[in-house]
């Protein structure tokens, strides 16, 4: 395997971008975490997507609401830490205005064996349940169709839906 070949059983950034484009996303409102740089480079090179970088995740909700009301199709791309910081904005601007938006949320600290040492992961699903956010876990390319399911659910239910990225973006770190 050369350096450009994604390792097996990861969620590759190409797969994520494929689903973003397929859903017709016009704007990605995002704040990077330490492992999303490869996706950033792909998105930056994609002419159909406009990147809207924020300095705090809480800004993303109202920006996405404005984009949607104005006729665009936003995606929010943040980490779980930032999602928790955004609680009131999610409540007011996304739930409150019935915004059908997908939030792709990096699941920092997620492990499959259940022993979690990072409190960012400890509180993530508890937060999602408290804020009435349905969510789908995506860990590798085989799970990636759930991204489409999330877009469909958001549109049908007119509400925000979360995709938890449980791979910690390993594929984006090449």
């Amino acid at each position: 395997m050369n350096d450009a070949t994604p390792p097996a059983n990861v969620l590759s950034p190409e797969t994520v971008l494929h689903h973003i484009k397929k859903a017709g996303v016009s704007h990605v409102v995002w704040l990077p975490d330490s492992e999303t740089n490869w996706l950033y480079m792909l998105m930056r090179a994609e002419p159909s997507i406009r990147l809207v970088g924020v300095s705090r995740e809480g800004h993303a909700a109202s920006i996405a609401a404005g984009i949607f009301v104005g006729g665009g199709r936003p995606l929010i791309l943040i980490q779980n830490t930032g999602m928790m910081e955004s609680g009131d904005s999610i409540r007011g601007w996304l739930h409150g205005l019935n915004i059908p938006v997908v939030l792709m949320v990096g699941y920092r600290g997620w492990t499959r064996h259940g022993v979690i040492s990072d409190t960012a992961a400890t509180y993530t699903e508890r937060f999602l349940n408290a804020f009435d956010l349905n969510y789908y876990l995506v860990e590798n390319d085989k799970d990636a169709d759930r991204i489409a399911v999330a877009f469909d659910e958001a549109a049908r239910a007119k509400r925000p839906v979360v995709v938890l990225v449980g791979d910690e973006y390993h594929g984006f770190n090449r």
Binding site: S55, A60, S62, G66, F68, G71, A155
Partner: protein
């Protein structure tokens, strides 16, 4: 200082077919607006978000002016949004700030360092190409043609008299005749954006 109602009356002739997010000036704007179908008085969904909402509208509607009447209490909660707005620099975005130096809806407590914050300087420092500050109505009215007839993003800080409310929220007069859902629905209908952002072409809907 100037009264918000007078300021909005001076602005009204320059509105044309702009989208207006009236923010905390909504109770006065409703008496001035000739195009309520293009107004977005969404109330206060979550404090600090009006700038993002107006900015998002401007990104999605690049051929139409978007005018936001923000407030200093809201902006102080999300100052970093100014860097995001300045980076994408939507030329159709007109960002007015109502600075009454206090949290008027909670009884008039001062915002931090209320009398000593130069918001127009902060906006320019964050990258807004044009920013202004006015404390008197005459100066603001004289500058409106330049503000509105040139491209944004532009930031305009306005010193306004506080209109302090001490009544319990449940006892306050409700000025907005439309609920939030109707406001959003009316605006989307006028902008012809209903259906956009909702019909997906994903694997799930395509059955593939």
């Amino acid at each position: 200082m100037m009264y918000t109602a007078d300021m909005l009356k001076a602005f009204a002739p320059y509105r044309k077919d702009a989208i207006v997010v009236p923010g905390r000036g909504g109770r006065h704007w409703i008496n001035q607006s000739q195009r309520q179908d293009l107004d977005a008085p969404v109330g206060d969904p979550a404090m600090g978000g009006h700038a993002g909402f107006g900015f998002g509208l401007a990104l999605a509607q690049p051929d139409r002016q978007v005018v936001l009447f923000d407030s200093e209490g809201d902006l102080l909660m999300s100052l970093g949004i100014l860097t995001t707005i300045a980076e994408l620099a939507p030329a159709n975005f007109y960002h007015f700030l109502l600075d009454n130096e206090c949290y008027a809806t909670t009884g008039g407590q001062p915002v931090p360092n209320a009398k000593n914050v130069a918001y127009e300087t902060i906006a320019r420092g964050c990258g807004y190409p044009r920013s202004f500050a006015f404390s008197e109505l005459d100066g603001f009215a004289a500058a409106l043609p330049d503000i509105m007839n040139n491209p944004g993003p532009v930031f305009v800080a306005l010193k306004v008299f506080p209109e302090i409310e001490n009544e319990p929220i449940g006892k306050r007069r409700r000025w907005n005749t439309r609920g939030r859902d109707q406001v959003v629905g009316d605006l989307r209908k006028t902008l012809d954006t209903i259906g956009r952002g909702e019909v997906m072409k994903t694997a799930a809907t395509a059955g593939s």
